[in-house]
Structure formats: structure tokens, C-alpha cells
């Protein structure tokens, strides 16, 4: 075990897989020599050579589209979008090809590929650097969408993602890239995709959250506890496939649901989870299942961003409202 932040643990997962499987290549803007603008791929080019870890020209559609070509020809590319807000030029390649190639070829050409992208806000960044658009990826048939919330999870989930024979959008909560440190095994381990993780048990209310918001929710859970409210906290881990069962089981018990995330509210992941509990646990609902997301607005520039991003107090406020419903 070693104390790591998420940058370290992702770096370690990448290095481990590069070591193990010579079909893996890593590239993106500044991913090579520089090790990425967040230093996530630091040292990998030095260790594995420029053929395997390299810089690409500045063109996201090409990064994604060439990776599809590599994947069908037997490589296993792990590509980087510098920020999730700059993945949009690659949208057509992802929705029209990467997500569909296995089905289109009836399994002849699967697409083992990971698209890593730092996402999310509260880093005092310029516009486009704080996007949280996971619902859009979740809505695209054929993709898997994964979001870790700790260094440990990031490692185990990323290894699973790289070993998956289907494409994974791997969204990294950059706000906590270095903010959370924990002991992480230096051995190889995997965390299965598609399974949520119950972080705390409680009887009064279920909270489903993921990514950087988990840490904020945990603070609100402490506040709730002081008021004798027992929160069951589920870290979703995978946006798609979504762990319907874990969510349903929990809400059947608590009768109350709050989803906390940082995306625009309408047509988001929150709505999906609310629909799931209606489908699976309707008769158990004791209060309206609720979502606490960002606003239906562009994420404000840093001076106004605090309004948009949910803090523990805001989360606690919603917990209290729900429990008192």
C-alpha cells in the first residue's frame, strides 16, 4: 500500500497495463513528453518509448477516429481528451463509429478503447474547462461511461476499462485529482464496471452521487448524522451501464432519493435515476425522488461558479427537506 492521489493512481494503472500488454498505446494532446497538462501520463513516454506514449496534433476528432482504426487493427488505445469540454469535436467519431462498430460488424470488429477526459468544475478555470456532460455520453448506445471518486477507485476502474473489449468514456474528476490522498495497493486489482459502491449505510434517505461530488456529499452526510438522519450513500461509479439493482434496493429500504451531481439539471443523469426508482421502487417512495444538479445554464466563470456548484450545506438543505416531506 502506498499513499497516492488520483493522478498517481491513474498513472500507475496506465503504467501497469502498458507493461503487461504491448498492444496498448497512449496518446493525445501533450500526452507524451509533457505527460499531459495534468501530468497524468508523466514519465510514461520515458519508460515505454515514443512509439507507445506520444503527442498527437491538436485535433480531437482525429485522436478519436484514429484510435478506432488502431483498435480494429488489434491495438488497445487509451486516448486523452485534454478536457471533457474539448471532446466535442470528437463527438461524431464517438457516436457514429466508436460506440457502434461492434454492433455494425456483428462482433467482427470490437473497439477496445478508453477515452480519458478530466471533467467537472470548481477549479477556477476559464469557460469550457469545467464541463460535466456525462448524461450525453450515457445516452449513446454502445458506450460505457465511468467516473471514479477516489484514487483507489480510479485505479481499479481504469484497469477494468482498459481490459474491457468495449469502448469506455473514462471521466476523471479533476477537482480531486490531487485533493484526496489515500492508501492504494500497488498490486494490480480491478473494480468491475457497471457496479455501484455503497459508501455508507442508512435508513432514512438514499443519496446517489459520483465523482468529485462524493466528497461534498460525505460532508453533508456528517451534518445529517448530527441531526440523526441516516443517509445511505451510493457512489454510482458507472453512469452506463447503470447499477439499477443497487439503487432500487436502497430506495426500497429508505423510500427517499436524492441525486447529487454537477451537470445541467434538465435531461441529466438525475432524471434517469429518478426514472429508475419509479420503475423499480414506486410503491416504496415516501417523498418525491429529487435531483440536485447544476443549473440549466453554462457553468459560470469562477466568480459566479459557487452558485452553480453544490456545497455540503446546499446538499444538507435538500436532505432535510426530503426527510421532512
Amino acid at each position: 500500500m502506498k499513499v497516492m492521489n488520483m493522478v498517481n493512481s491513474i498513472n500507475q494503472a496506465l503504467g501497469m497495463k502498458l507493461d503487461e500488454d504491448e498492444n496498448i498505446v497512449i496518446y493525445g494532446e501533450d500526452s507524451g513528453l509533457e505527460g499531459g497538462v495534468f501530468r497524468v501520463t508523466e514519465g510514461l513516454q520515458e519508460k515505454f518509448g515514443e512509439k507507445r506514449v506520444f503527442d498527437s496534433p491538436l485535433a480531437e476528432s482525429a485522436i478519436a477516429g484514429t484510435a478506432l482504426g488502431m483498435a480494429v487493427a488489434g491495438l488497445r488505445p487509451v486516448i486523452e481528451m485534454q478536457f471533457s469540454g474539448f471532446a466535442y469535436p470528437a463527438f461524431n467519431q464517438i457516436i457514429s463509429h466508436i460506440s457502434r462498430f461492434r454492433n455494425r460488424t456483428r462482433g467482427k470488429y470490437p473497439v477496445p478503447m478508453v477515452i480519458r477526459m478530466p471533467y467537472g468544475g470548481s477549479i477556477n478555470a476559464l469557460e469550457h474547462h469545467s464541463e460535466s456532460m456525462e448524461a450525453i455520453w450515457g445516452h449513446i448506445p454502445g458506450l460505457q461511461v465511468v467516473i471514479p471518486s477516489t484514487p483507489h477507485d480510479a485505479k481499479g476502474l481504469l484497469i477494468s476499462a482498459i481490459e474491457s473489449n468495449d469502448p469506455v468514456i473514462f471521466m476523471e474528476p479533476k477537482r480531486i485529482y490531487r485533493a484526496i490522498k489515500q492508501e492504494v495497493s500497488e498490486e494490480k486489482f480491478i473494480i468491475p464496471l457497471g457496479k455501484a459502491n455503497i459508501l455508507s449505510r442508512g435508513e432514512d434517505l438514499t443519496i446517489v452521487s459520483y465523482g468529485a461530488m462524493i466528497r461534498e456529499v460525505q460532508k453533508a452526510v456528517v451534518m445529517a448524522k448530527q441531526k440523526n438522519i441516516g443517509v445511505e450513500l451510493i457512489d454510482l461509479r458507472s453512469i452506463y451501464p447503470i447499477d439499477r439493482e443497487t439503487i432500487a434496493e436502497s430506495v426500497k429500504k429508505t423510500g427517499r432519493l436524492l441525486v447529487v451531481n454537477e451537470e445541467p439539471s434538465s435531461f441529466g443523469v438525475g432524471a434517469e435515476i429518478i426514472s429508475i426508482v419509479n420503475e423499480e421502487a414506486f410503491l416504496h417512495l415516501e417523498a418525491p425522488p429529487t435531483r440536485l444538479s447544476g443549473f440549466d445554464t453554462v457553468i459560470p466563470l469562477p466568480m459566479g461558479e459557487h452558485f452553480y456548484q453544490n456545497d455540503p450545506l446546499r446538499i444538507f438543505y435538500e436532505i432535510e427537506k426530503l426527510v421532512n416531506y
Binding site: P57, G65, M70, A73, L75, N92, R104, T105, P141, E245
Partner: protein, 364 residues
């Protein structure tokens, strides 16, 4: 050929066989002998016949919308004569001659236009991606495959990829050319410049003198070739594939041609071009030209052609029947190929649908 001689900026076009079937280049027989020239013609004839029959199947309501290849056969057949099993083919959707060479069956081709996914497996073909509907997006796949070839040091393998004149306007064209040149990968980009993107003529597509010249922007060689001249096309594809296979990096070939038919069976070209333009190009038809050449050498006659056509018709009809008799899509097939393992959520949706089907049954 020495493709440095055909400077695209001067808009010089490489041609071997003029429209009257006369060689404009001496010594041609060293490249393709009489037998090979005859074979080339037969392949073009077959591709054309299959294409014509596809259009008629569509008219009969036995296939959905279909994009004819009429007038462009030389390009695809030439590429087909060069491409090998181990090479990769990343198609657009108007290169029937190459698909056949690469091992696609006509049955699969027809099945595709009858709306069945199984068609795209190309069961007996290796290294052949599905047709690409989103224009120009496929070029990037070719570049990625090129990278994989280089990475694995699979010496002398080449990727052939196709796009139309319209497709050169897409951002993906640019990104693919740029990445290919920077990475120096073995990709032959063949632009079928048939002068129209549906109804939009070349001069509204780009102000460039031609398409081959676009190669300059990427530090890549480019040549403009008479796409209705199978000899020139064969030579260009063969020479550049050899060049790329030796590790010299990608090449752009502009194959100048004319889409003699409609864009698809839903299109009516008379809305946007003149009869005169069409007639003008009909005189430059690739089959006509090669036939004149072969007839000049007494290698071909009408009787032979008719006999062959009869034989082709039988073969094409047989394959079409196979496509028509192919089992229809099942519910499982709609779901089961999206992931290696069927996710719970997809299974749930499938089961729900089966319940509905049961209910429907009992209701009768």
C-alpha cells in the same frame, strides 16, 4: 510512373489510355499484358452489371435506396487489382469493384441494401471495414490502421481508403491527411472526384485548382489521375501502394471521373445538370474506352461480351436470391452485438419486449 512528374499545382493529369482507346504512353504492356487488360475489362463489366441490376432490384422494391457506381468502375476495379488480402480496405460506399476484389460477396452487398446488419460482416474478407455513411469520417480509421501496421512492423502492408470530392470539405478529411503525414503511415487516400456531391458541383465545393493539390498542405505527394482510365489508375495505385508500403508515408490520389448515374435511386440529376454534360462524359466512359483498346488489338468482340453478360446475370441473380432468402433480423440480434456481454439494462429491455410479444400472441 514517376508521380513527381504530375505536379498537381500545374493541374497535370496522368493518363495512359485516351477516350478513343489509344495509348498515350509507350511501353504500357510492361505494366499490364493483354490477358490482364482483358481481365480488367471483365471485372469492370461484372461490377457494372451488378450495379445496373442493383438499381433495377431497387426499382422493383426489392432493395432500399441504392447509390449507383455507373461511370466510376475503373477506379474501384483498378484498386481491386492492386489490393491484397493482407492490405486493409476502408471504404466509403461507391467502390463496388474493390469490395468484390477484397472478398465481399454480392449476396452481402445486396443484403446490406435490403437492411440487414449481417451483410457488413464480409464473411470471406479480411481487413475490410464496413461502408461508411458519415462522409469522410472513415479516413481517420484508415490512418489509425496505418499506425497499427507501422507499430507492429507489419512490413509492406498498405491501407486503401476512399472518399468523394464532397467529402474533402469535411474537417475529418483534413485531420486524416495531417495525421497520416505527421505519422508517416502507409495509407493511400483515393478521392473519387465525380464532380458532384449529390447536387453540388465541384466549383461550389472548393476553390482549389483540383483535389490532388490539397496534398501540398500536408507535405504529402498527390497526383491527379484520369479516373476513367483503368490503366492510369492501376499504375497510380500500384506505384503509390508500393511507395507507401516501403515506409515512405501516405499519398493522395485524385481520380477524376463522373457519376454517370443518380446520386442514389432517390435522386434525379436532371434537376441540377445538363444532358450535354452527361453526354460529354458518356464519351469518356471507362468501359467503352478499354473495350475500344481491346477491340483494336482484336482481343474482344460483341459475342464474347454477350456471353459473359448472360453468365454474369445468372451469377448476380443467384446471389440476389440468396440475399432475398436470408433469414430476417431477430429480436436477439437487435440487442446482442452491442457489448461483449449483454448489460442488464439491455436484457431488461429485451425481456420487456418479449413479454409484449407474448401478450400479442395470446391476444390473437
Amino acid at each position: 510512373m514517376n508521380f513527381k512528374k504530375y505536379d498537381p499545382l500545374k493541374d497535370i493529369m496522368y493518363q495512359v489510355l485516351d477516350k478513343n482507346g489509344n495509348l498515350t504512353l509507350a511501353d504500357w504492356d510492361n505494366k499490364l499484358n493483354d490477358m490482364e487488360a482483358k481481365t480488367a475489362y471483365e471485372k469492370m463489366l461484372f461490377a457494372r452489371q451488378a450495379d445496373i441490376k442493383a438499381v433495377s432490384y431497387q426499382r422493383q422494391g426489392r432493395m432500399y435506396t441504392y447509390p449507383p457506381n455507373l461511370g466510376q468502375e475503373a477506379i474501384a476495379v483498378a484498386a481491386g487489382m492492386v489490393i491484397r488480402d493482407e492490405d486493409w480496405l476502408v471504404p466509403a460506399f461507391r467502390e463496388l469493384g474493390t469490395y468484390l476484389a477484397k472478398g465481399m460477396s454480392l449476396k452481402e452487398y445486396f443484403l446490406y441494401f435490403r437492411g440487414h446488419e449481417d451483410s457488413l460482416i464480409f464473411k470471406n474478407a479480411k481487413n475490410f471495414l464496413p461502408f461508411s455513411v458519415p462522409i469522410a469520417s472513415q479516413l481517420l480509421h484508415a490512418v489509425g490502421i496505418g499506425y497499427a501496421i507501422k507499430y507492429k512492423e507489419e512490413k509492406d502492408k498498405v491501407v486503401f481508403t476512399f472518399v468523394g470530392d464532397g467529402g474533402t470539405s469535411e474537417g475529418d478529411f483534413h485531420e486524416a491527411m495531417n495525421f497520416a503525414a505527421v505519422w508517416k503511415v502507409p495509407v493511400i487516400f483515393i478521392v473519387q472526384n465525380n464532380q458532384f456531391a449529390i447536387s453540388v458541383p465541384f466549383n461550389k465545393q472548393t476553390a482549389s485548382v483540383n483535389i490532388a493539390a490539397k496534398s501540398v498542405a500536408y507535405g504529402m505527394p498527390g497526383i491527379k489521375v484520369d479516373g476513367n482510365d483503368i490503366f492510369a489508375m492501376y499504375d497510380a495505385v500500384q506505384t503509390t501502394a508500393d511507395y507507401a508500403g516501403k515506409g515512405n508515408g501516405p499519398v493522395l490520389i485524385e481520380a477524376l471521373t463522373f457519376r454517370a448515374g443518380a446520386h442514389t435511386t432517390s435522386d434525379d440529376p436532371s434537376k441540377y445538370r445538363t444532358k450535354e454534360e452527361e453526354d460529354n462524359w458518356a464519351a469518356k466512359d471507362p468501359l467503352l474506352r478499354l473495350k475500344k483498346y481491346l477491340q483494336g488489338k482484336d482481343l474482344w468482340n460483341a459475342k464474347e461480351e454477350n456471353a459473359l453478360l448472360d453468365q454474369y446475370d445468372l451469377e448476380i441473380e443467384r446471389q440476389f436470391e440468396e440475399a432475398e432468402n436470408y433469414p430476417t433480423t431477430t429480436l436477439d440480434e437487435v440487442f446482442d452485438y452491442h457489448y461483449e456481454e449483454l448489460p442488464e439494462e439491455l436484457n431488461r429491455q429485451k425481456v420487456a419486449y418479449k413479454k409484449f410479444l407474448n401478450w400479442k400472441e395470446t391476444r390473437k
